[in-house]
């Protein structure tokens, strides 16, 4: 088994890994039922999905021709900018007040943080006000 065959198998495995993570992350984007929950899924597409595809491209260029590491630049750029854009989208969700109250619990019940007793109401509102 020469290095070329191992490289071709590595290209196939990296392609399957990256495409699988892209598919799973986008299924999560489509199926989850809350804005902040939906923000969690596509981060996998931006990191492992694209990382696997670019790694397959690098190994393919080393197997079939002169190798090049140019794709590492795209990988570095995406890995640096993905958390910044996720932070901005989370800020938009907070600004639009789409995550003020948590979703309803499964049975006839309320979350314990929403059921503040009468005596503690003022204390709770004091705690909720942001500092400054």
């Amino acid at each position: 088994m020469s290095f070329e065959i191992i490289g071709i198998y590595a290209v196939g495995v990296c392609l399957l890994l990256g495409a699988g993570f892209a598919l799973v992350g986008t299924i999560g984007l489509l199926k989850f039922n809350d804005s902040m929950t939906r923000l969690h899924a596509p981060t996998k597409v931006g990191t492992i999905g694209i990382g696997g595809l670019l790694l397959a491209s690098i190994i393919h260029s080393f197997v079939y021709g002169e190798g090049s590491l140019h794709d590492l630049l795209i990988m570095a750029f995406l890995f640096v900018t993905a958390p910044i854009s996720a932070n901005f989208i989370a800020k938009v969700n907070i600004h639009k007040r789409s995550c003020d109250t948590p979703p309803l619990p499964p049975r006839d019940d309320t979350w314990s943080t929403l059921n503040v007793p009468e005596a503690d109401r003022e204390l709770a509102t004091q705690d909720d006000t942001p500092a400054g």
Binding site: V11, G12, T26, S57
Partner: protein, 95 residues
């Protein structure tokens, strides 16, 4: 050699189908997304999936000429996401 090449070709086909299907699903979320944040997130995911499709096309054709295309689309996707989120947050992009 033929077994390895066959495995890689099948992996190519599976990867193309999976990433194209992911692109279509994020487009569905872009259409039905209830709030603005979901639509911005769907656009960001669509840019990332488009980068994946272009990388797959470059591997399939065996050329390196799609490198600059991918890099510029990555930069424009990040800048457009930040500009749109900032427009929703502040009502203005450049203050």
């Amino acid at each position: 050699m033929t077994a390895a090449t066959d495995f890689m070709n099948i992996a190519f086909i599976i990867a193309f189908v999976a990433v194209a299907f992911a692109q279509v699903m994020s487009m569905i979320r872009l259409v039905i997304g209830p709030s603005v944040g979901d639509r911005i997130l769907a656009l960001d995911t669509m840019v990332v999936n488009a980068i994946g499709l272009i990388v797959l096309l470059g591997i399939a054709q065996g050329t390196r000429i799609y490198f600059e295309v991918t890099l510029i689309i990555a930069m424009l996707g990040f800048v457009s996401t930040v500009a749109y989120a900032r427009f929703v947050l502040r009502g203005d992009i450049i203050e």
